[in-house]
Point group: C2
Chain length 114, copies 2
């Protein structure tokens, strides 16, 4: 059984977490994991990049501690490490997701005030 390395809570670095979440592709992955229930294989995300680029983004998220990746047969199941992140950097993840939702709402709604 293959396994993948993850940072422990204490090993999580703010630098890495912020950099991971600063990229729109990766933030999309994190947001989808937050919105959905349970695990999700990499292939289910329909990202606007190639498969090898997707691998790179998933690895970046994992190494930052944002997601957990576990093999299940040939698939990798991804979960958001919400509990760990909340324990390590309280409020950060929720604030980022809230901000993401604000921007997403603007993208569809008619621009109102600045």
């Amino acid at each position: 059984m293959r396994t993948l390395d993850h940072p422990s809570r204490g090993e999580m670095r703010l630098d890495a977490v912020l950099a991971a979440l600063a990229d729109p592709v990766r933030r999309t992955v994190a947001c989808k994991l937050n919105d959905a229930f349970g695990d999700h294989a990499c292939a289910t995300f329909e990202l606007p990049v190639s498969k090898s680029t997707a691998t790179y983004h998933f690895r970046t998220l994992r190494e930052a501690g944002v997601i957990r990746q576990e093999y299940e047969g040939t698939k990798i199941m991804n979960t958001l490490r919400k509990d760990d992140l909340d324990a390590r950097f309280p409020g950060l993840l929720d604030a980022v997701f809230a901000a993401q939702n604000i921007e997403r709402a603007e993208a569809t709604a008619p621009e109102s005030r600045d």
Copy 2:
């Protein structure tokens, strides 16, 4: 009188704000502005980079909307755009500063548990 461009609240992009705060030098600047009262000239920060690199980081922060820069004579006074950021992306700035303080505390304190 020279002036500098700033994004309005609505023009602030989450991408840019997170990228701005992901860099340790820039995050240090933002944190110091948060901790201190009033305005602060660029030169007062004692950053571990050259003057021209510092200019680059201040500009990055300003263009993301994190700080406001206003000329005052030959100096530039920097302020944290806390109200604007809080209005635009509620809770984000506070969560980042809290996280930064957690890491800073670890750096000085003896490592305890992960």
